[in-house]
Structure formats: structure tokens, C-alpha cells
Amino acid sequence: MSLIRQVLSDLLGELNWVVVYGFVSAMVMMALILISLSYQDVSATDKAMARFESADITICSVQPIPQNVSVAQHDNNTGNSSNETLDQYFSDVFVRGGHGGTYISLPGRLGYQQVYILLGIYAELTPYGLIADTDPVFAVSADLNEHRSDNITLGGDTYPLNTAPAEMDLYHPLYYMGADDPLLQQSLFIFTYDYQTVQRLFPPSEYEELSPDIMMDRFILSGQDDEDIIRLRRVILEQMGAYIGTSTFEEQVMMSSESGVRTHQFYIFFYLGSTFILLGTMLLNLYNILRRKTTDYMTHHLFGATRIWIFGRMLGFALIYQMIPWMSTIYILRINQSTTPFMITTILLGGLIIGVGIVSLVFHSIMRQFSQGFRSE
């Protein structure tokens, strides 16, 4: 009883420190978690961008014909009229080895929240995709893994149904969907190189939403040359009366991705450093507080407190003093759902070992001092 009372009054005397460390450690943990969450995002984007970069992607967007480009001039630039239809064009670029790629989403079809068709080169640009010679590949989003059936029947044929990995994201420079984006849940992904396959699986009569506009919405070219762009501009001008703006991918990578990742890495490093410094100063402070109480402990020992009592009092103080920062750390980790029992055990065990270590150190030095004769001050 008296021991507990002594520990509590020791703590009360150092309350300011307990509060400061509890608060600061909670803050640092919070910042660390926010940063690492956003880092996960950035680094996922970064990977997606790396895939785009290595595939030498050019983003092609349908735009109104610019004011300063007259139709005639434009016509000249795009070569002679050939009356190629969009269907012909798509059949030509969306094939194995073709240069075109796009993805289309069909909301609410086939009983899924979204059906994504990753077509042409796009079938290779996500964390999942075409496996060996199989084409098409069907996969449900990871959240549906447990409920999926083994097969799916579509357009009169039956195909095996797979599960996309949990990190499945969908990247386009204009719009990035991270792996945890609600729009990527409850979804079916269909990967295919072949425009004909899409036509077969989704007959235009039944799927009116598969319009040329939609096909062109996320259109990209991979490893194209000038010929490819001229051809694309021509067919779009003729069939849709619109212009195609292009931008290469490298510029975008340079601008956003790299610096984002590097900034995040810096912040994480910074906050990790802060955590260690905080931990260090906390332990140093613990050591100093115990040291400062030397006269107190020695006086009690002189008047009858046993060594075990003194050690218990010091350890009790040290553990509770540390407990608040450790606990707030665990608490913050918990509310961010990033703890495992292993992690909690490690943290608590680490705190215990460090606490016992510091207390033993000071305790032995106090007892050595005492055995040389009592001296206060």
C-alpha cells in the first residue's frame, strides 16, 4: 500500500514530464502514421507511373479543334482522307502487339458495382493482367475473393474467374484510383488485347455505353511513331470532328512522382528520427529524475526501506512514467488499425526491458554510494 502511494506521489511530482512525453509521443506517432499512409498512396502511384514510363506511353485526349489550327491545315497535317471507320481503327490498334490501349468502366453491369475492361496495351499496365497466352482474363476485386465462383459465362463462352491482388489500382494521369478506392471494390476486371473480344463479349446492341467517346476517354499509345499519331488524328477528325492532343509521359513523371516520393521519404525519415530522439530524451530524463531522487531513496533506505522496496519504488515509477508514451503510441497505432499483437508485445517488452535496465543502473549506483556511507545532497 505505502509502496503504491510512494510511486504515485513520485509520479505526481513529475507529472509535467509524464504529460509532455505522453502528448508529444502521441503527436509524433500521429504524424508518422498520416505520412506513411499518404506515402503508401504516393508510392503506389509511383509504381503505376513507372509502368507507364517503361512502356513509353503517350496520353492522347480528344479535344475541340484548336482556334489556331484551321480545318484545312489540320487536314493537311493528318494526310489524305482515307475514310477509315473507328471500328476498323480500334480493331487495328487493339490487338496483341498493337500500340493502342484504353480502359472502360461499365457501372452496374453483370451484377458488379463496376466492370472494368482493360483493353490493348492497358491490359499490361496494372498490378494484374494477362497471364501467358490466356486472353481474355477475368478477375474480381480482392474484396470479392471469398464469394466468387470459379467460372464466368459471357457471350456464350465460359472462362475461369480469378481474383485480382489487393494492391490492384488503376492509373491514368488524369485520374488515379488507389487500391482502396471504393470504385475499385465489388468489381470485375476484364483484361484483353483484342477489340474483337470486347465486341464479342459486349455486343454493341446490348451495351450502348461502349461508345467511341468512352473508348477514347482513357486512350493511350505505347511506343508509337509519328505515323501512328497522324493516323489517329485523321480518324478522330473524320469520325468525331475533334482534335487529339498528345502529351508524353516523361514530363509528368519528372514533375509529380519523383518529388512526391522523395518528400515523403524525407518526412518519414524526419518523423522516425524525431521518434528516436524523443525516446532518447525520455529515457535520459528518466535517468536524471531517478538520479535526482538519490537522497530521497537513500534516506528511506537509511530509515528502514529495504533494497527490494527501493527497487520496486523506482521500477514502479519508471514503468508508469514510460507507460503513458508507450500506451499513447499503441493507442494511436490501434485507431489507425496498424497494430499486430506481435507489435504491441514488442513495444511493451521493449519498454519493460529499457525501464528495468535504466532502473537497475541507477539503483546499483545508489546502493554503491550508500555502502560508502550515508551522505545527503
Binding site: 533506505h301 530509515f303 528502514g304
Partner: protein, 230 residues
């Protein structure tokens, strides 16, 4: 009757560079109710001897008997118990804990004396404080007290749970003449009235001469004894 009996005590301190033999083959016994002054030049080993007699430090050689029981080689818990029940320590710098009140300082030995019921603590502390004339200052912090008052708090703590031997290391060192006299009168009165033994380290001869017996240390040896007896 002999209460405390030390035979052939030796003690040396070891440092990195050298070792000092502070006490060399000192024997001393103190009877119940007797007052003994230890005098000697600075560095002669007075404090060391007092620490040995008070079971604060262990002798390298020799042994200490308390009421005819060997106490030199007790376990820590038994040693703590003996210190708690038998000795009241008063040090030159008082060894008060300044973040505590007078009351809490006096209570320290009582915390570790299980057989004295907690409900009687208040009354005992008050009695000790009254005997020393500081009863009105029980709830002040000790750092707000004068030197003489602090001294009396230290003595009150040394008698609060009926310790039978008072050990005082230069208890008057930092006091003016008036306060010296008050403290000495008080200590001698405790000796006579409550039959407590007193061992006091001092280099003030006028104080030493108030004791029943004076022993002199010189470079760790006991060189002279004088009996003043009453």
C-alpha cells in the same frame, strides 16, 4: 548494560587510484542511556566509525553486536529492520527531504515499522514534534524553515518511533551558539529522560564535554578515551 559493542572494526575505501584505510582496529562499546562523543581532526574517520556503528556500512574486519546479538552479517531486510527499530540518525546537513512537509519527514521511519498501527502515526509524530517545539510547523515544507528548526525536525525524526540509539554526525555544525545549546540540552535530556543512548561526532570540545564519555580518533585509530561520568 552494554547495548552496542564494536570490536576490532576496520574499514578502507577503495578508489581507482588509491585506497584509504579510514578505520583501523577500533573497539568501542556503549551502554544503554550512555552518551559518547567522538572527536578527532578532519579526516580521522569519525563519520566512518559512526556509519559502521549505525550499520549503514559494513566493516572489512571486526563485528558489531547489538544487545549481545551479532549484527554485522545480517541480510539486507534484517539490517533494514534493525536500522529502523534501533537507530535514529541525525546528520550535519539534516538529510531532510525538502519536497516533503515536516510531518512527512518525521513519518519516514514509521512507514517501515509495521507493528506500529497507522492510526497512531499522527499522535506519535505530534508528540515528537512537541518534544522539540515544532508542533506548530508540522505542515510546512522543510525548506521554509530556519537552520535550527530543520535540525529539530531531523531529531524528531530520529526519535519518532522509539529508536533507542541516537547517532548524530556534527549535529550542531551549522548552528549558532544559542541553537547549539538548545540542541545539546535537548539531546542530553532525551538521553536522561528516555534512557536513549547517544553517539555524537563533533569537533566542538564544549559539546563533547557534556557527554558521559569522549573518545578521540587519530588517523583511524582510537587514541584516547576520557570519562566525564555523572
Amino acid at each position: 548494560m552494554t547495548q552496542l559493542c564494536a570490536t576490532q572494526l576496520s574499514k578502507s575505501y577503495h578508489n581507482y587510484h588509491n585506497s584509504v584505510q579510514a578505520i583501523k582496529h577500533v573497539s568501542l562499546s556503549v551502554a544503554t542511556g550512555e552518551s559518547v562523543a567522538i572527536i578527532g581532526p578532519s579526516g580521522s574517520g569519525k563519520s566512518t566509525l559512526l556509519n559502521l556503528l549505525g550499520l549503514v556500512i559494513q566493516p572489512d574486519e571486526g563485528h558489531v553486536k547489538l544487545d549481545n546479538l551479532e549484527v554485522s552479517n545480517l541480510s539486507d531486510s534484517k539490517l533494514c529492520r534493525v536500522r529502523n527499530t534501533t537507530f535514529g540518525y541525525v546528520f550535519q546537513d539534516f538529510a531532510l527531504l525538502d519536497h516533503l512537509t515536516v510531518y512527512e519527514n518525521i513519518r519516514i521511519p514509521l512507514i517501515y515499522r509495521r507493528e506500529i498501527p497507522r492510526r497512531t502515526h499522527r499522535q506519535r509524530i505530534r508528540a515528537a514534534a512537541e518534544a522539540l517545539g515544532i508542533a506548530d510547523k508540522l505542515h510546512r515544507h522543510t525548506d521554509k524553515l530556519s537552520g535550527g528548526e530543520r535540525q529539530r525536525v531531523a531529531i524528531a525524526r530520529a526519535i519518532a518511533c522509539d529508536q533507542s540509539i541516537l547517532l548524530a554526525d556534527e549535529p550542531t555544525g551549522s548552528l549558532d551558539q544559542d541553537n547549539k545549546d538548545t540542541v545539546m540540552t535537548l539531546l542530553m535530556r532525551l538521553c536522561r529522560e528516555k534512557n536513549k543512548s547517544l553517539i555524537i561526532v563533533t569537533h566542538d570540545l564544549t559539546i563533547a564535554q557534556q557527554c558521559d564519555r569522549v573518545v578521540q580518533l587519530q588517523a583511524g585509530h582510537l587514541v584516547a578515551e576520557a570519562n566525564y561520568g555523572q
